[in-house]
Amino acid sequence: MDGPAGTMILLEHVTKLYGTVIGVNDLTASLPQGAYGLVGPNGSGKSTLLNLLTGQLRPTLGRIAVLGQPPWNNARLCQRLGVCPEQDAFYPNITPLEWVRYLLELQGFSGSEASERAEAALEQVGLAETRRRPLGECSRGMRQRAKLAQALAHDPSLLILDEPFAAVDPLGRRRMVELIRRRIAEGKGVVIASHLLHEVEAVTDRFLLICGGRLLASGTAEEVYALLEELPKEVRLRADQPRRLARQLLETELADAVRLTGRDELVVSTDSPGRLYRQLPQLVDRAGVRVFELRAAEGSLQALFDALLRIHRGMKILQPRD
């Protein structure tokens, strides 16, 4: 099952049921080659989707293609995938070097080549010095790095990472981010799942937002921010003449309501923040008001995430504007 040329991942109405529990629900997406963040709260269906992509689960309904091939029981596709599952790998008496080498040999590399690649991958993730320490004596952060090393070591075309930065210290995290970015720059595909948005933002600006097993939004951060512009929201303004500004905003119907909350501050409620942002400079100029500060109450990606979840609870799906 091939999608359009260059399609890295193709999902067609993919549903996964565990008995009567829905893992993912009617997912449809076509993702070209690139890097994507899969973002959603715990239990949102991220791991189910990743397990479907890596062929460890079979969709109950719908079809999946990864790199143009169905992933279930597909040994040829396994050659091209690097997978870092969320689960903490733990053979207590085995060293990271032995473990990565073992997985490389299972991948099909000869003993000597597996050793070389394992050494190189462990060095890349910063585990060169502790590569011969048993995993049982390694910290969780070290094991997390070993997990990334085993996913990278065979130079896969597509890297699928589930919560890769969990328990990794800031320095290690930075190193891992750089490593992943380097792969992206080399044109390799990456899908990175996390419930922490800043982790995803550090790697890519394209993401899929999933909640309750449904795809809430997809696209670049800018595209989803653009969607946000159409969401009702509150904007805080500080100005030298707040009452005058409030009157102007209400007269021009840029604001639905205005609250004066301080000597020089007002809070503007609007159904169309995009229009407010576009017309505010002219309005301010016309009214002869000086604005010192404009602050959207919801400006971060986290806020975007929360806003989308609120919409999701109302079962409204956002579509990017044409």
């Binding site: 397990n51 460890q56 040994a75 396994c78 995938l81 997978v83 790998a89 299972l106 085993q150």
Partner: protein
């Protein structure tokens, strides 16, 4: 060929991983257990060694009890231990990983079990008052290997089908099918591994319960088949059980929704 190489990789890794004090100690205890039992009976004035009793008791203790205990410990959890230890997803995403891990871990369990059995039979052959030590050692050595292969395949299949309750089911199966049904003088006992192993012992050593006297004499507990028939049944059954385990494993989803 690639699968064979991957199986060897798994065996090597599992042997390295299994070289821990607790497992080696368990193996030694299981190897010494038959001899300890025989010597205990000897100190109490009993005799399990001389005449036809020797091969019979060693058969019951080594290819029977010891092999089963080893395989309960090492063959049944072959896949379950990987799933429980959260290491399965790393193996399952390798090309042919599922089959390689299944067969590699099965063969590792067979190797450990056979080693324990061979050590046990060696200790017994050196210590017990057997009429023909070398013959007993050779025959029991082969039967231990066949027992490990056949029971190992059966237990691996049970472990794949019933991930969580496999140990209980295997103990139940061993007791009901192998030790109760296996001694029922009816056609059903031909479907037990015990029956074929027992028949081979009889053919290769001339041992029969009839030589012990008593009620066994009347029972058709042995097969008139030639030895190759039993070997075929055991090895063919082993291959069929492993093939079934492999097919089931290939179709099973071993990722649980709790892992979300």
């Amino acid at each position: 060929m690639e699968l064979a190489q991957r199986i060897l990789v798994v065996i090597r890794f599992e042997c390295r991983r299994g070289m821990i004090l607790s497992r080696v100690a368990t193996a030694l205890v299981l190897a010494v257990f038959p001899l300890a039992l025989v010597l205990l009976v000897r100190t109490q004035g009993g005799d399990l060694e001389t005449g036809p009793r020797g091969p019979g008791i060693l058969f019951a203790l080594l290819p029977g009890l010891t092999c089963l205990m080893c395989l309960l410990l090492w063959a049944i959890p072959a896949i379950h231990s990987e799933v429980e230890g959260s290491t399965w997803p790393y193996l399952a995403v390798r090309p042919g990983g599922k089959s390689a891990v299944l067969l590699g871990k099965y063969l590792t369990a067979v190797a450990w079990t056979t080693a324990v059995g061979w050590l046990g039979v060696s200790l017994c052959a050196m210590t017990m008052r057997l009429s023909d030590r070398l013959e007993t050692w050779c025959v029991l050595g082969i039967l231990i290997l066949l027992s490990a292969l056949a029971y190992g395949a059966l237990f691996v299949l049970l472990g794949v089908v019933f991930l969580r309750r496999a140990m209980v089911l295997a103990v139940g199966y061993a007791f009901i099918m192998e030790f109760l049904t296996g001694f029922i003088p009816a056609v059903i006992h031909r479907f037990t591994i015990q029956y074929h192993l027992r028949s081979l012992l009889s053919q290769w050593t001339g041992w029969t319960p009839a030589s012990l006297g008593g009620a066994f004499h009347q029972l058709s507990l042995f097969s008139p088949w030639p030895a190759w028939g039993h070997l075929l049944a055991l090895l063919g059954g082993t291959a069929a059980l492993l093939a079934a385990a492999g097919c089931i494993l290939r179709q099973r989803e071993l990722i649980k929704p709790e892992s979300e």
